[in-house]
């Protein structure tokens, strides 16, 4: 089953890699404005966090050890997603805009996009879904019905529906959990909603681009159309965060530098907390929720702070951890 470990570790990294770009867009929307757009991005990013947890639970269930708190885990933005998913699409940390939703976020979640993989030795998959299907298939082939991992390591949370985030004890649990990830991301092959009737990420992002809610529509192909309530979004509600802000763009020792360093320190603290959570201390998940709120508050304040020397821009969250302990 060791063959599955790197695949699941890749899955954790893939799910995580979408979170900073989505959060950056989310944090750029000024508090209390463009509420509908904010809710949609928020709902997606929360599910990415759940997918990351599911992937970690499966890795734990088969006896592996998720690796979260090291610099290799942290993607460099702008850059490709892990395993070159979405055909090497370059993903950055940018403020919210219809353009970034359409050209980046929808591309990430695009159901039909084939994957381009980094390594020639690695197996190739046509889509994210197929990547997960390959994991599913491998589990089916080699895993015993009762999975060998320590059951006490499984992470669940009152913040998620227990029908979606549940402990992975058996092969069936693992297979069902992967179905949830795939369907929440892509929908099913015949509908934009998953089996629970929830709209898949790709189509929720499309709602943002079309600025209309997706609703059931018996006259439309597949039974849905973007003819619901308008999604009011005003570009003036978005703080002009400098794309792919890095801490070395700021003068060390300035208040702005300290504030961004504070953000990165909290991000590192979050990764450390998640590492503990997924390595035998599941109760630590509660503590990481507090850090997520800290990150949000720091990032939103940064987003309102003018970027010294870059007129017209504010400071973005940089999600940097280079391996050096932040002090």
């Amino acid at each position: 089953m060791e063959d599955l470990y790197p695949m699941l570790q890749n899955a954790i990294e893939l799910e995580h890699s979408t979170i900073p770009p989505y959060l950056t867009a989310l944090f750029s929307i000024r508090p209390g404005t463009s509420t509908e757009a904010r809710k949609i991005v928020h709902s997606i990013v929360i599910e990415e966090m759940m997918h990351m947890t599911i992937a970690a639970n499966i890795l734990n269930a088969i006896g592996g050890k998720p690796q979260i708190n090291n610099p290799r885990f942290v993607p460099v933005y702008p850059g490709p997603l892990p395993m070159g998913i979405a055909q090497g699409l370059i993903v950055g940390l940018e403020k919210y805009s219809l353009d970034v939703v359409k050209k980046v976020f929808m591309e990430i979640e695009e159901p039909e996009n084939p994957l381009v993989l980094k390594s020639v030795e690695a197996p190739t998959y046509a889509t994210i879904g197929q990547f997960y299907l390959a994991i599913q298939k491998k589990i089916e082939e080699i895993a015993p019905y009762d999975l060998p991992g320590n059951k006490a390591f499984q992470v669940t949370s009152s913040f998620f529906d227990s029908a979606l985030l549940f402990p992975i004890y058996t092969k069936t649990d693992a297979i069902n959990a992967i179905d949830i990830i795939v369907e929440q991301g892509e929908g099913t092959s015949i509908s934009p909603v998953d089996q629970d009737g929830e709209i898949a990420h790709y189509y929720r992002f499309e709602e943002l681009v079309r600025q209309r809610k997706l609703i059931q529509d018996d006259h439309a192909p597949h039974g849905y159309s973007f003819t619901g309530e308008p999604i009011v979004y005003n570009p003036a509600d978005v703080n002009p965060m400098y794309p792919n802000t890095k801490i070395n763009m700021l003068q060390p020792g300035t208040e702005e530098w300290y504030n961004l360093a504070h953000f990165n320190k909290s991000y590192f603290s979050l990764l450390s907390g998640l590492h503990k959570t997924f390595n035998g201390e599941p109760a630590e998940l509660n503590n990481t929720i507090g850090i997520m709120y800290d990150l949000k508050l720091i990032a939103e304040k940064l987003g309102a702070t003018p970027f010294p020397g870059r007129a017209g821009y504010t400071i973005g969250p940089s999600f940097e951890f280079n391996g050096q302990l932040p002090v």
Binding site: E255, F268, S269, G273, L274, N286, L297, Q324, L325, V327
Partner: protein
């Protein structure tokens, strides 16, 4: 044992304290008169002071272990000597930072650290040890900066003393002889810790907004010793230079007879010329024993006291070094070793003094600070209390004479008289501000107690039902003075602060109207929550986030994510809020409106009643702490005389 005992480590660096400031003004608690301007930064009561969007974060920044001291008196700051030196001192990792909060707008001199962790690890994140700081509040606030704090805005410093509990020792600690020794010496898996803070920035200058300097010491802890102060001897400042205020106002020192050693923590009181902690004292300082008893306390007319040379027995020169490095390495903690036996004998029942020569006179010295009269010290362990009606809390006193537990000592505790209401007027433009300490029968307590053979004594304070004596602020603040029979005129009495909460019975099925005033007030006072998390005046917005609110309101008070962060809600109100979130009913009943804000107490003190001396000093001290007094101009050559 204490933080001044060995094995001891010193760490220094910066701290971050992102306290919120809308709640610094009692009038801002009045929902009826609150306007959005009170959430904007700016000075004075008509806006939100210097950090309205503060989030109460407390954390360490750039802190490193600088020096270690061994029981044989050897100190070293050389990383080659022990791996502990040079390591990183930081807060939590994997959970939110600790918090720093005041208990109440009427009690702002007791800023407390909650849920702070101290972690010492290598740059590769290998743990040496980590512990949880027992909650503790500021003590010994005193003047530190002589430049008038033009860059940072706060010239005062203060001290937090506590213990680290639940210590986890990392495997790496075994490689340190020092840490192994510390671990083997200390008891109950706790460590003593003391942190002297100063140079705090209210101002957006030098990149240091909401940061300050911190000098920390960690030493062994022994069972049954006090937590929130060190069981040591104490010195008080008795010199007012140039018509200002005392410097070296309070500090701890330890006398170890067997080791023939005196260790003094000047890190708590040494004057610094700027916010970074640069020392530039133009005079030599000496520690000496005074053969005669000194009880002098300065005032404007008699700012100084001198002692003839023949009355002094030298302990040694305080070899401070001007500049930034010395204090940053030593933390200002200095030991004098190999003191001759006869001097140690004299120290057993004579006062230690800090003196400097008088220019042009070789026969007498200026006394900058002297030990407590007769070496008497009595302090309360639990000096900041949150009490619900019908609840009883304990206060334990420890009395010492010459550093030894003092039995048979009487400690008197007295509630201060009510302070008058402040009516509306040019100086108080927003709302009536109600006085404190009434109704006087709100608390029942033992006013006098005698220490037992171990030098300790306990009293109990019981909360009686009160009903909104301050109308728009929950409960009441009561301030007690306590002291031994003799009060040191240079130090005065110390205080116990109680926030007694209003009587409030949990409502099992509350409607929005039942919690609305609490939530609106919270949203007003903490824009970090109302702007960034949810509009607290809008029940629908709260319902949308109800899972996270249920999460936060149900955390234990010892959990860093506990809501409210100020920890100022009675159990009845907190439970009612939780009940509402669990079954939110968006309705305002007549009943819920009528029981709010009906004070059943009137202030017995007319508004033109003058404050007592202690109350007046306290009020001035709060203003100074909040940076709302005009800054002192710079003062040079502090002790030139």
């Amino acid at each position: 044992m204490s933080y001044l005992h060995t094995p001891r480590l010193v760490f220094t660096g910066d701290f971050l304290s992102d306290v919120s400031t809308v709640n610094n003004d009692p009038a801002h608690y009045n929902n009826q008169t609150f306007i959005p301007d009170f959430q904007k930064p700016g000075q004075g009561s008509t806006n939100g002071w210097w950090n309205p969007e503060g989030g109460a974060i407390f954390d360490f920044r750039h802190c490193l272990v600088k020096q270690i001291s061994f029981p044989d008196g050897k100190n070293t700051a050389d990383p080659a000597a022990d791996i502990a030196i040079g390591q990183i001192v930081m807060g939590s990792e994997g959970r939110p930072t600790g918090k720093m909060v005041d208990i109440d707008p009427d009690a702002q001199m007791y800023s407390a650290l909650w849920c702070v962790q101290i972690t010492i690890c290598t740059a590769d994140n290998e743990l040496l040890f980590q512990g949880d700081l027992e909650t503790t509040s500021f003590r010994d606030i005193q003047m530190r900066q002589t430049d008038g704090a033009p860059n940072n805005g706060q010239a005062l410093g203060a001290t937090w003393t506590s213990v680290l509990k639940n210590i986890t020792w990392g495997a790496k600690a075994n490689q340190s002889r020092f840490l192994s020794l510390l671990r083997n010496t200390t008891q109950e898996n706790k460590l003593s810790v003391n942190m002297n803070a100063f140079g705090y920035y209210y101002a957006h200058n030098d990149g240091r907004f909401s940061m300050g300097r911190i000098l920390g010491s960690i030493g062994p802890y022994f069972s049954n010793e006090p937590i929130t102060f060190a069981p040591t001897r104490r010195m008080y400042g008795v010199y007012i230079p140039k018509g200002r205020t005392t410097y070296f106002s309070t500090c701890n020192f330890l006398v170890e007879q067997e080791a023939r050693r005196v260790t003094i923590d000047l890190g708590a009181c040494l004057p610094v010329v700027n916010s970074i902690g640069t020392i530039d004292l133009g005079v030599p300082l000496y520690l000496a024993i005074c053969k005669s008893s000194l009880s002098f306390a300065p005032d404007a007319k008699n700012p100084a006291c001198y002692v003839p040379l023949q009355e002094l027995v030298e302990i040694g020169e305080v070899k401070y070094v001007n500049g930034n490095d010395w204090i940053s390495i030593t933390g200002g903690v200095i030991s004098f070793d190999n003191i001759p036996y006869e001097r140690m004998k004299l120290l057993e029942d004579h006062q230690l003094v800090l003196v400097t020569p008088v220019q042009g006179q070789s026969d007498r010295f200026l006394v900058i600070a002297r030990e407590a009269v007769d070496g008497l010290v009595a302090r309360a362990e639990e000096f900041v209390l949150r009490i619900d009606c019908h609840e009883t809390k304990k206060v334990k006193f420890h009395a010492y004479q010459w550093g030894r537990p003092l039995s048979g000592a009487t400690i008197t505790t007295k509630m201060q008289p009510p302070t008058p209401d402040t009516p509306l007027g040019p100086q108080n433009p927003i709302s009536i501000i109600y006085g404190n300490n009434f109704p006087q029968d709100g608390l029942s307590y033992d006013s006098s107690v005698t220490t037992g053979s171990d030098g300790t004594a306990e009293i109990f304070i019981h909360g009686n039902p009160i009903h909104s004596p301050r109308h728009y602020i929950d409960g009441q603040i009561y301030m007690f003075d306590y002291s031994l029979n003799s009060v040191d005129p240079a130090f005065g009495t110390e205080n116990i602060i109680v926030h007694l909460r209003d009587e409030f019975e949990t409502i099992q099925n509350p409607v929005w109207g039942d919690i609305q005033p609490i939530m609106i007030q919270y949203g007003n006072l903490y824009p970090i929550m109302s702007r960034y998390i949810a509009t607290f005046a809008d029940p629908e917005a709260l319902i949308e986030k109800k899972n996270i609110f249920i999460f936060a309101f149900s955390r234990s008070i010892e959990d860093t994510m506990h809501m409210p962060v100020t920890r100022d809600l009675s159990e009845g109100k907190r439970q009612t809020i939780l009940n509402w979130f669990n079954n939110p009913v968006v309705r305002t009943d007549e009943k819920s409106v009528s029981h709010q804000l009906t004070s059943r107490h009137s202030n017995p003190t007319p508004s033109d009643t003058p404050l007592t001396d202690n109350q007046r000093k306290y009020k001035e001290a709060v203003k100074a702490k909040n940076g709302s007094l005009p800054a002192f101009p710079a003062i040079e050559n502090l002790f030139e005389n």
